[in-house]
């Protein structure tokens, strides 16, 4: 068990082994977990919106999926991670409220998850597993010793991916 590091909303963190990175109450936001098994370096980002190019204000890169992924990978490389060995897991991107009248609000979770997948593919980072979608919140924990991503929910069980 390493130190537990909390990642807030629109926040990201990279760490070397031993560490557990956690983010609580992911809703429509997407949690991007990165892991390099060879150096046991971990990274976790909690992103609110898919695309930084749609926004005029990008002072916080962790807020957007595209900029957070790039930033997180470079932080991991600084900690000694091997770019070609990094793999990714995704969680979150759910739809908390069932809005009939607001297409934009309704799709934000889906768009976050889709953008994360596209960006990972562009950066040639393999997506090994995901638990996205649905209509419930998730708390996730990324363990640097195994790269396991633990997902806790209220009423939808606990799983490891």
């Amino acid at each position: 068990m390493g130190t537990i590091i909390k990642v807030g909303m629109a926040d990201m963190h990279a760490a070397r082994h031993p560490a557990i990175l956690t983010t609580l109450g992911l809703g429509s936001c997407v949690g991007i977990a990165l892991y390099d098994r060879s150096t046991r370096t971990v990274g976790l980002a909690h992103c609110m919106l898919p695309d930084s190019t749609q926004s005029k204000n990008v002072s916080n890169i962790a807020k957007f999926v595209d900029t957070a992924l790039e930033g997180l990978v470079s932080e991991m490389l600084k900690l000694g991670a091997n770019k070609t060995r990094i793999v990714a897991k995704l969680a979150g991107g759910s739809q908390m409220f069932n809005f009939a009248h607001s297409a934009d609000l309704m799709r934000i979770g889906y768009r976050n998850a889709t953008m994360a997948k596209e960006k990972l593919e562009m950066m040639r980072i393999p997506l090994v597993s995901e638990d996205t979608g649905g209509s419930y919140g998730r708390t996730i924990e990324l363990d640097s010793s195994t790269g396991m991503l633990l997902i806790k929910t209220i009423g939808y069980g606990i799983k490891e991916i």
């Binding site: 807030g8 909303m9 629109a10 109450g25 992911l26 429509s28 609110m48 759910s94 409220f97 607001s102």
Partner: protein
Amino acid sequence: MSLNFGNLNNYVIDVLKEIGNIGAGNAATALAKMLNKKVDMEVPKVKVMEFKEVTEMFGGAELPVVGLFLKMNGDLDGSVMFILENNAAHTLVNILMGKTNDANNQGFDEIEMSALKELGNILAGSYMSSLSTLTGLNIMPTVPEIAIDMAGAIISVPAIEFGKLGDSVLYIETAFIDGSTRALGDFFLVPDMDSYGVLLRALGVIS
């Protein structure tokens, strides 16, 4: 126009608090009538928070809560949210439906969910109508939607709307308490960034 939340002066904060006071005051009266019971409220808080802190604001990101969420449209755009702790929601529903508090305080059935939505409808409606009277602005609330889940996941919904423009979020928060100082729930008004200017202009705070 939009506001810079970094240097909101005390006068503007007081005005926003007063908006929370009047809006939630009306909502509290409506709630008291519905429950036939005294409902008090705390002095509203106007909070500017970084997103990092937002998920923790309602007693922890993982606390199970009932969230009633709706949008306001018209001259003012934004989000309105009423958050209740699960137990408080059960208590309210039981009073509304004339049931005794049973031990089975787990989920909510369809009728109870519908009662909660109606509660959100009435509370938000009275909040909005007083805000509309105060400002002379035309404000239309949508039908409320309900979610029962982790507080962090629910609070993030209005925060995301805000995140499109800013790096922090401004909430006008009013806590409802019943006569015996037990918390009933928190009412959040989260106007969209551009609507703050409209709101303050309508009240003559800025020109």
